[in-house]
């Protein structure tokens, strides 16, 4: 049985606590990397705010070809940076060679 976690700045993720997810308020990148490493075994899905995801992108890439955990960027309170969409396009680029779906 796995759990679901949310990482990011406190304001963006606090509400998820009440609906049954575990929240990890993160203030700086190093802390985020450390937290991610320690929870990657136990949590099947980790939502992470786009701002934080951008900062620790190299760490997130390490989990890309593993089945667990799925690390999914979501927009935080500061707004949508388009990082999530960019990640999808990046997958297409990796598979096809170029982003044939565009935008």
């Amino acid at each position: 049985m796995y759990k679901i976690g949310v990482m990011g700045d406190r304001d963006s993720i606090y509400g998820f606590q009440s609906v049954g997810l575990t929240v990890f308020p993160i203030d700086d990148t190093n802390e985020g990397i450390k937290t991610l490493r320690s929870i990657s075994e136990e949590y099947a899905v980790i939502f992470i705010t786009e701002k934080l995801a951008l900062e620790m992108d190299s760490e997130i890439q390490k989990y890309k070809d593993k089945t667990v955990p799925a690390i999914i960027p979501i927009p935080g309170v500061t707004g949508n940076t388009g990082l999530g969409m960019k990640n999808v396009s990046r997958s297409v680029e990796q598979a096809v060679g170029s982003d044939i779906l565009g935008g």
Binding site: D11, S18, G20, V45, F47, K64, T67, I74, Q94
Partner: protein
Amino acid sequence: MARLNVNPTRMELTNLKRKLVTARRGHKLLKDKRDELMRRFMEKVRENKELRKKVEEKIKEANLHMAIARSVMSDTAIEAALMMPMQEMNVDIVSRNVMSVIIPEYKTSFKTADSADIYPYGFAYTSTDLDDAVKSLSDILPDLIKLAEIEKSCQLMAVEIEKTRRRVNALEHVMIPRYEETIKYIAMKLDENERGATTRTMKVKDMMLQQAHNY
């Protein structure tokens, strides 16, 4: 294309021919795998994009509710209200094998079945905006999990497609031409040896006749 560095013997020729057949079959199979993976991948990616757009929109809405709640209530009050969650969400992974890519499917379960358990606070001292915020977050949860599932599948498939594509290309443009060239080289060499041998025998025959009968 450089040929392989082998001795031009009949045994090597047989071996190489066998290898060429295997390489051709492997190439065909891998190509089929790549095409099918690609088809499924494109389906998933389209779905992924649409779902992500929808989810991002909804999160924005939920954040809006949260912002309103935050403006009505003090930070400490909100924190106190949300501090002890009643609901807990767990997820089980069922893995499915799609063209040798293991993709996950998430089955979620809640600790308590009561849908009202998403509000871990009494309603007396909190604003209704907080209720709205919590409700909207709880509403997007199924979509969020679905998004996680699809997005992870896409990532895993992308990695596999890249690998398969490389293998197909390596077979098509390196291995197979190299085998073909080497086979041709050995065949030519063997033919040449044979012709050499025939000529030599004819020559020796001539010489022997010369010696015996003075032709």
